[in-house]
Symmetry: C2
Subunit: 339 residues, 2 copies
């Protein structure tokens, strides 16, 4: 086992060893065609011998491309985003890109600074599930000013004309609410999410469907939460209402899982007395206290589609037209709504 030097081998070293120019070696490394087969062989041999690895920092500076794509998500712990991240990495890696994943913790300021860091690191492109407030435009403007292509996922921004990949959130809201109605629920509450498009869209789908069915929601039937812990607390409030709901639609699966816990703790049965449905189809939905009915939004597809759109933008010199993908949600009935 050779003990390689602490200072890595450079193109220059190989060129010197072989009495060829740095350029020639560089061309071989990058697989350019215009190199004599004999020269190429010698260079390749030496490269293997010395275990040469190109310095990507230098390469990036000279080539003005880093082959790095930034991804910002609000919460890696939520398996929905972990799944998306995985889909993106897997799609982009074969194309030679590395993905730098950042966690914004659902904090717009932190996110903005992450965006700036990534831009300073000269990423070639950006994918964001943004935690910016709906009207915000500043952070995106800085990306556009730099001419860096980016695609929004999960959360849309009306004021921004950018590519988007995500679920049809109103459809999710309609699907979930309609399902509860069909299962016989009449007093349907909604644990709504934050004021992002998924939160707002699902809420609207819920309200529209209720209205269309001639049902109405008493005050207090719409309450906010973001994860299992807050979903649990929210549900306790719901159950304390004078008119206890017989159906609960949770903005996402973690919230719905928290709801299940609270309902059972209150001594009510699921699905007999209260039916619960979530959204997202996280992989452990089936393992919960009561297997959770949910609306699938195909997270992995969101990742692959986003990667695909970005890849196209990265490979075309001209500014590409904005292109979007709306993923059609799919009902996954399980025990929590009586199946």
């Amino acid at each position: 086992m050779p003990n390689w030097p602490q200072t890595p081998v450079r193109l220059k070293d190989i060129a010197h060893d072989l009495n060829v120019s740095v350029m020639t070696v560089s061309k071989v490394v990058r697989g350019c065609a215009d190199v004599g087969p004999e020269t190429r062989k010698r260079v390749l041999a030496r490269i293997k011998e010395l275990n040469y690895q190109p310095n990507w920092v230098a390469r990036s500076l000279a080539a003005r491309r880093t082959f790095i794509v930034g991804l910002i998500v609000p919460d890696l712990m939520h398996s929905f985003f972990a799944e998306i991240a995985k889909g993106i990495s897997n799609s982009l890696r074969p194309l030679g890109y590395d993905v730098v994943i950042c966690n914004s913790e659902e904090d717009a300021t932190l996110e903005a600074s992450e965006i700036d860091r990534l831009l300073a690191r000269q990423v070639d492109g950006l994918i964001l599930a943004s935690a910016q407030p709906p009207s915000a435009t500043d952070a995106f403007a800085r990306i556009e000013a730099r001419g860096v292509p980016f695609v929004l996922i999960d959360r849309r921004f009306a004021s921004i004309n950018a590519s988007f990949v995500g679920a049809d959130d109103e459809a999710i809201g309609r699907l979930a609410t309609q399902h509860l109605i069909e299962c016989g629920c009449r007093r349907i509450a909604h644990i709504a999410g934050p004021k992002t498009t998924p939160g707002v869209g699902r809420l609207k789908g819920y309200q529209d469907t209720l209205a269309a069915a001639g049902l109405d929601a008493p005050t207090g039937y719409v309450i906010h939460a973001t994860d299992d812990a807050s979903g649990y607390e929210a549900t306790k409030k719901l159950l304390a209402l004078s008119s206890v709901p017989d159906g609960i639609f949770g903005y996402n699966d973690p919230v719905a899982a928290g709801a299940i816990k609270a309902v059972l703790e209150a001594g009510l049965s699921i699905p007999q007395q209260v039916k619960v449905i979530g959204a997202g189809n996280v992989h452990y939905s089936d393992l919960l206290r009561v297997p959770l009915s949910t609306v699938d939004q195909r997270s992995t597809d969101i990742g692959t589609h986003a990667a695909e759109i970005l890849a196209k933008a990265l490979s075309s010199k001209r500014r590409r037209a904005v292109s979007s993908v709306l993923i059609e949600p799919r009902l996954v009935p399980r025990e929590s709504t009586g199946r």
Copy 2:
């Protein structure tokens, strides 16, 4: 809203505008002390005006430091690793480091290539939950050859003299098994993990504790699985044994969650007829069909400790002594073992 140029502002531009040298501007940017207060003010003003952002690629090349740390985990979807990743990012960000997260998919070859990519990108340090086979040494050797500091997490490698942060896996095995025994189990099966130190250590803790208690495990009582799906399948086999176990210790929480599903489907009750315990204390353990007893290994702490050790190594010029942290596990009894 100014429309900034596509080609970003450079030090040179600012220097030119102000009739000072590039160096002076550079010094101001980096906050060096040796700059006249008047000059500094002018430079700062222009920087704000032009929204100058240093080019980190160029800076990295010149300074021979990227302020990037690589993190490789086998599976981001497993919330244990997501939690660690979060702990690491949060600890390292304030020190000016960005963390590049890679997923090895539990594949040693893929991991080796990720390591090489990260090294080629000139990361300043590396943190790995490695998927290399226990005897492997090659990939680590390449890191050391480059003189890049690294710390191993979760999985240890006997042949490698490197810093390590992880749980005391034998203790986890002992704690879980002992708990089952104390809950009255006599026929205790183990769904073991892969042949990594956590898998092997927990298995040993299980075997030692069984032996110490004078219990023995019939053939077929140790079976392998890695996630909820395979844990579910493994448990079905366990339940088909002539002597059905009355206690199951799952290598990790997902496996144990799969076990719960299989046991209930078989018409057996938990914890009355079969008790189940996992390890890891993933955040949804409490929301499972039966709230899962588990052994907590404080994932976030693993991340912060690893970050701390690496940070020390990064800030000291001399090669640091290897330092390790063994996290003491803690029993978290819930309903799945009768509490």
